[in-house]
């Protein structure tokens, strides 16, 4: 295969700029250096001799084979399949003729190369469609020119343009001429009813590599001359390095060096295992510099704040204090959740080659652009010298937003002047995490004359305000007196986003509280939610709320109908939950059966409104994964600190959901022609609430703390 780039340099350097793509730019791209990393086994068309590039996303070969660049980092959320599907749809090629490649980091060419917040599809949607449609138009215009005909004479299907008189031209035959055209300023996008690829399940584009064990992941990346590094970091938060002794460690065969960098120690070896052995032999002395926090302190501090008013409330409608005073009855409940590690299956790692000319980074990262800048700043080098190649990631869940591991790799490489791969052991990964912060919520609700008149939510959280991000979420707008107070407490434990940040714990707390509130008011939990929504629609209180009532009603009604909520037998233990997050509406109903006096979740029914579903098989995988992730962490995962040190170092001390714990999951999507929203996160938050409510139905025990297994033990 020859790359057209080599002979046609002048054209490649010509920048194609257009305002057609969401206000952004489409620029001719240098295809050299891009790796073919997912050639389907039986590509329908032969491998081309020449490739012609059109814009940053698309090149077409002379045989009609198409390569589509997938712009965003792939952490298992399926964007490497679904984003190119969107381009292929508007380009009008057969999916079997498409090869997908991971795009390089280039934020001038691509918008938002980030994996986070369930935003890849939502924010990429228009730009991806226009990229495909622009190239389709260039090909069509070329055919029209050759045939001296009108657009109306032509139809396009599967990469072939047909004239009404029977003549045909394939994209492969047109590619050379078409690629010389200017990118059109205006393009027409397809009507959703004409979609051929979107909405039809397409297998993961990396399937073959995964099934054959090919080197797709950062940890698999190797280069000639590379050394292996491990680090030793402070074992507890609040500690710094005082001194260390490494004679024994250095004597391990294969170990090349042990040295200090910052407050850490680096071990360099010719392979991974000698470094692991040496890591255990280094004798380091740490000293306390900052406070040593523990879980008892965390819990006490959070609870103390729940009775304080915040200086600046996040939202105030009416007068909650007065309404609570005037109420006939007040329900007050407190919910608590621990810090959580991300525990990605692939531990943190990164490859770095820092030399005089350039800084080459390869590895798993959710935020390549931010990391590129931070590395440039750290090493005091121009950002243009830093390249980042994104590998497939063995999970992210938020942990790989924080490029600390990439910075460490760069720092180590710059010190030894060699290419290096830094690996975290599982223990390093769990002990030096960027945890979901512990948080607590207090809800106070006032009932007067059978109506919900007051709703006061107080949050306390370490290093951030979770609910502070969305105080206008449901049930805001439905209650005359409504207030949200948030307290942010500083901690020296590093914290950060964890799958479905803000909502991952709050959804359970709120939805379990609403269940109890409905019971207290003598209302059916589903009808209670629908009544609140009707109020938010008909007589909205205060400034606009952030959710669409009809969509929320839609998922609630559908889920209730699917499980036969109104006709459920008394011994059928169901728990209901509905939640809006990451621009997506989700309702989940959990069913619990008693097995040897223990509640077991037997089924979860889920209804999702995420607009257009791009790739149903991938979407369903995300939905189920999110539910089981939410269920698993709500049920099992506990994480404690003593003297600033995490008490779980590996999977034997940190319980994740496993196959025998998994219920049946039944997934339904609301049919929609609305633009797609996010899917990687929004099904996680409601799972805990649905399960807590179903466990209550089965056991009459309310659960106020995660993980539930611990609560159930305590409660007996």
């Amino acid at each position: 295969m020859k790359d057209k780039h080599i002979e046609n340099k002048s054209r490649r350097h010509f920048l194609k700029v257009t305002t057609a793509v969401g206000g952004g730019m489409l620029i001719g791209i240098n295809w050299l250096g891009c790796q073919l990393d997912s050639v389907p086994e039986e590509v329908a068309k032969a491998m081309p001799n020449e490739w012609y590039s059109f814009d940053a996303f698309i090149k077409i070969g002379d045989t009609g084979l198409v390569t589509i660049m997938s712009p965003n980092p792939e952490i298992g959320q399926n964007v490497k399949t679904s984003m190119p599907m969107i381009i292929a749809e508007e380009l009008d090629v057969a999916w079997k003729d498409v090869i997908v490649e991971q795009a390089p980091l280039n934020t001038e060419w691509y918008t938002r190369q980030v994996a986070g917040g369930s935003q890849s599809i939502r924010q990429g949607w228009e730009a991806l469609r226009k990229a495909g449609a622009s190239v389709r138009k260039m090909l069509l215009d070329t055919a029209i020119k050759q045939w001296e005909c009108q657009a109306i004479d032509c139809t396009i299907k599967d990469g072939v343009i047909s004239h009404s008189d029977g003549r045909t031209l394939g994209y492969g035959a047109l590619a050379n001429e078409a690629s010389k055209m200017d990118v059109p300023e205006e393009v027409e996008l397809k009507d959703a009813k004409d979609f051929q690829i979107i909405g039809k399940s397409q297998s993961n584009v990396d399937m073959e590599g995964i099934l054959k064990g090919e080197p797709l992941f950062g940890l698999d990346y190797k280069e000639e001359g590379m050394v292996y590094a491990l680090a030793i970091r402070p074992p507890a938060f609040g500690q710094i390095l005082e001194s260390f002794e490494a004679d024994e460690a250095k004597a391990v065969s294969g170990v090349e060096d042990v040295f200090q960098f910052g407050d850490k120690i680096a071990i360099i070896a010719n392979s991974t295992y000698p470094a692991i052995k040496a890591q255990r032999l280094v004798k380091a002395t740490w000293k306390q510099k900052d406070s040593a926090e523990d879980t008892a302190y965390h819990s006490k501090t959070l609870l103390e704040h729940l009775d304080k008013k915040a200086k600046e409330p996040r939202r105030v409608d009416g007068d909650v204090q007065q309404a609570l005073k005037d109420a006939d009855e007040v329900l007050e409940r407190t919910f608590e959740a621990p810090f959580l590690p991300h525990a990605c299956m692939e531990p943190m790692n990164f490859f770095a080659d820092v030399n005089e000319k350039e800084i080459r980074m390869v590895g798993p990262i959710q935020t390549p652009q931010w990391t590129q800048q931070r590395i440039a700043d750290l090493l005091e080098r121009p950002v243009e010298q830093v390249t980042i190649q994104m590998t497939r990631m063995g999970g992210g869940f938020g942990r790989r937003l924080y490029g600390d591991f990439a910075l460490e790799a760069a720092e180590i490489s710059s010190k030894i002047n060699k290419p290096v791969k830094l690996t975290f052991t599982r223990e390093d990964d769990m002990l030096a995490g960027t945890y979901r912060p512990a948080s607590a919520y207090k809800f106070r609700a006032g009932i007067k004359d059978g109506e919900l008149t007051a709703y006061h939510l107080t949050e306390a959280c370490f290093n951030g305000q979770m609910f502070g991000q969305m105080p206008s979420n449901f049930p805001c707008g439905a209650i005359a007196n409504y207030r949200v107070d948030c307290h942010n407490i500083e901690s020296n434990i590093t914290t950060g986003a964890w799958r479905a940040p803000y909502a991952n714990f709050l959804a359970y707390a709120e939805q379990a509280f609403l269940d109890e509130l409905a019971e207290k008011m003598g209302k059916d939990p589903v009808q209670f939610r629908l009544d609140l929504l009707a109020k938010a629609k008909n007589t909205p209180v205060g400034e606009a709320h952030n959710y669409e009532v009809e969509k929320m009603e839609g998922v609630i009604k559908k889920a209730a109908e699917l499980v036969g909520w109104d006709t459920a037998a008394p011994n059928q233990h169901l728990g209901f939950c509905a939640y809006y997050s990451h621009n997506t509406y989700v309702a989940e109903v959990a069913e619990v059966v008693m097995e040897d006096d223990n509640p077991k979740v037997s089924k979860i029914t889920c209804v999702v409104d995420c607009g257009i579903v791009i790739n149903p098989t991938g979407a369903k995988n995300q939905v189920v994964g999110g539910i089981l992730d939410g269920l698993g962490h709500a049920m099992y995962s506990d994480f404690k600190f003593i003297d600033g040190q995490s008490q779980s170092s590996n999977y034997h001390q940190y319980r994740l959901i496993r196959m025998p714990d998994v219920p049946e999951v039944d997934v339904h999507f609301i049919e929609s022609n609305n633009d797609p929203t996010g899917l990687g996160e929004p099904t996680l938050p409601p799972a805990g609430g649905a399960v807590a409510n179903a466990i209550y139905s089965a056991t009459r025990q309310r659960l106020y703390k995660q993980p539930f297994v611990k609560e159930m033990e305590v409660l007996g």
Binding site: G213, E214, M345, G632, P660
Partner: protein, 152 residues
């Protein structure tokens, strides 16, 4: 350092490492068979699962000195054409999310099916309990094992 002769995926290899080196790191770093994954190093996650004389083993907890003449199989050698009934079933059910745990899942499942062609749900749960999937693809893994079991 001692020199070991290993039989991996039908090929013989000579490896010169310390006796306590786990097979996981021999495969990944010395033999360049990186399909076998590191997840925990203490036999808790199953990402490193390989076959030793046909039986699933956690290679992170298998020192090279204990391998002897045993025949080892890794994901790269599960089948010559990637058409093992499990691999076919994995395609059919579009199992992976991130994909990192999948080699270990496939190797555990292959060992299960070679001993028990028609495992019950409980037997599948039991055999796969040692394999974590952080993305939680468990329902598809289970369905794919059942499909493969039918097609074997």
């Amino acid at each position: 350092m001692p020199v070991y002769t290993l039989h991996v995926n039908g090929q013989e290899h000579q490896v010169d490492v310390d006796a306590d080196t786990p097979m996981l790191w021999v495969l990944r770093d010395q033999l360049n068979l990186v399909g076998t994954k590191y997840g925990c190093g203490i036999a808790q996650c199953g990402a490193c699962t390989i076959h030793m004389n046909g039986t699933a083993m956690r290679s992170c907890s298998l020192p090279i000195s204990s391998v002897g003449d045993a025949k080892l199989t890794t994901i790269e050698g599960l089948s010559s054409d990637a058409k093992h009934p499990l691999q076919e079933a994995w395609r059919e059910h579009d199992v992976p999310q991130c994909g990192y745990c999948q080699a270990g899942q496939l190797m555990s499942a292959a060992s299960l099916l070679s001993n028990n062609k028609r495992p019950s749900d409980d037997e599948i749960d039991e055999a796969m309990n040692g394999n974590l999937c952080r993305c939680a693809t468990y329902t598809r893994i289970k369905s794919a094992i059942k499909t493969a079991s039918k097609n074997m």
